[in-house]
Symmetry: C2
């Protein structure tokens, strides 16, 4: 019998290698590092490849800021399911005396958190959220499809490089009948596996669940799994035995359609689905699989990104 010491990679070694090769730039807070020009070039070229594969989809492009309306999360139950992941934006609304007190506390390294109060914005936790209110009303017969590239936030500080607090997702959202959105979701799963295969990534799809909070969350995850509402594409990046989810393919049933009054052409409550491609994770999957210097990647891979 042999012992396989390579069953798992070392995530911190991979992080250190990304830093040493000037691909990411540490900032002193976990999961909020900077990206170098080389990292960004890979990311932009992957994004362009996705655009090329979806050019005939008639998807409308929208761009929303990294902060969205707090009401949007309140209305969709995000804080019930994922209270631990949410970032809320607080700010100072005091007078001159209070500003001097804030300044004094900062200078003396005292806690200044109670000088801040909650406002109307939260960090966007998933690229698709700001799109749903724009679907309110009756959809056209063929439904609607929107695409975005958004910065999203998750409150999960970690030195494991694929576990970021702030990252970008190329997203597609579809609203229509249940049949329209579920066949579209399945099409994207196949399409994405095809893109990953072209790029030589050892990718596999699997049923998945969202990271619901607490004990009640386990029941929600069980239901989600039973109904096959979420699939992910996984690639080994920081672990061989626990590959990293790089894309997700989600059917929401009426989760967004009911609160935002989204109806199919015949007046029924619509269904929605979304596809999210985690751009930084995909860049890291490419770097792990093909090496930290993209000029040395196989020609069969490079031709798709630098055509």
């Amino acid at each position: 019998m042999t012992t396989d010491h390579n069953t798992n990679f070392d995530p911190y070694e991979f992080y250190a290698a990304l830093v040493a090769h000037k691909l990411i730039i540490p900032v002193g807070v976990p999961g909020a590092f900077g990206r170098s020009a080389i990292f960004e070039d890979i990311l932009e070229r992957f994004n362009a490849l996705v655009s090329a594969h979806s050019a005939d989809d008639d998807a409308q492009m929208m761009t929303f800021p990294p902060v969205i309306s707090r009401q949007l999360l309140e209305k969709t139950g995000y804080l019930d399911s994922f209270p631990h992941l949410c970032g809320t934006v607080f700010s100072f609304n005091g007078d001159e005396r209070q500003a001097r007190e804030l300044s004094r506390r900062v200078g003396e390294k005292e806690d200044w958190s109670n000088t801040q109060s909650m406002g109307e914005l939260v960090l966007n936790p998933a690229a698709c959220y700001p799109v749903y209110p724009t679907f309110t009303g009756i959809l056209p017969v063929k439904g609607r499809t929107v695409t975005m590239l958004h910065w999203v936030f998750r409150n999960e500080p970690s030195n494991e490089p694929t576990r970021m607090q702030s990252f970008r997702v190329r997203e597609f959202v579809r609203a229509g009948t249940e049949a329209q959105v579920s066949s579209w979701r399945d099409m994207w799963l196949e399409r994405s596996l095809g893109i990953f295969a072209k790029l030589g990534l050892p990718a596999h799809s699997d049923i998945a669940t969202d990271p619901f909070f607490g004990r009640a969350g386990k029941l929600m995850a069980d239901s989600q799994r039973k109904n096959e509402l979420k699939f992910e594409i996984n690639v080994p990046v920081i672990s061989k035995t626990a590959p990293t989810a790089c894309c997700s393919f989600n059917c929401h049933q009426d989760h967004f359609s009911t609160p935002f009054g989204i109806k199919t052409h015949n007046g029924d409550v619509a269904s929605t689905a979304c596809v999210g491609l985690g751009l930084e994770r995909i860049v890291m999957a490419l770097l792990k699989t093909h090496g930290l210097d993209p000029t040395g990647w196989p020609a069969t891979v490079r031709k798709h990104l630098w055509p």
Copy 2:
């Protein structure tokens, strides 16, 4: 004597026109609207024009997330000067019982702000902030230049469309000797006026000051003006008499070099300067000047953006 009713435009009329022409997408929170594909196309093409004009600058590209280390703002005095503009990221770190209480308050539309606590991140208030720590140490003889395109945040909700809470800045930062950075700053002011002239924008440069908070802030602004540390390029967008600042050109003296230990090649405390181009404001300046349908813009303007 005649009365000129056109001395000022109506900012809310311009906002409504941007919405009606599907250039921006309201989200129910002031200054956090979405951008359409047409808006984004103009923005990206202007950004590419800037890249073309600076291609020979040997500027290193970096990309940082919209959230940065809270310590970075504490260390640079941002909270002394601009406490009112800062957005701090709070989150929930409680247990299951506290999560149920958060959920109940959201459901019953009660204040849930005290379920949140301050973390290690703030929203990035100016594109250049995360770059300064990367300059720590001895600079090369020729200094260093970095460029970024970042989302920045300002806590100033307004329905005036150019006054955004979240927007993008194409930024250039230079570190070196006082002479290196101030001549570079002046070069960029001339270069930017040249780009604006090509695009047919009625642009003028002027000495400017930062929006320092309170009475003490007035003294800081006076000193900044006296030392000619900040220039802006203004274009009429929502007012003829108070044109909108679309770019700024800033000398920081040792404001960032001292806290981050940035030294010139001979060991002196370095100087830094930055140039920020407000991308959404420039898009709006183009739309105001040449009309809301870019396909109808003068050929002399279009050739620079759609070459």
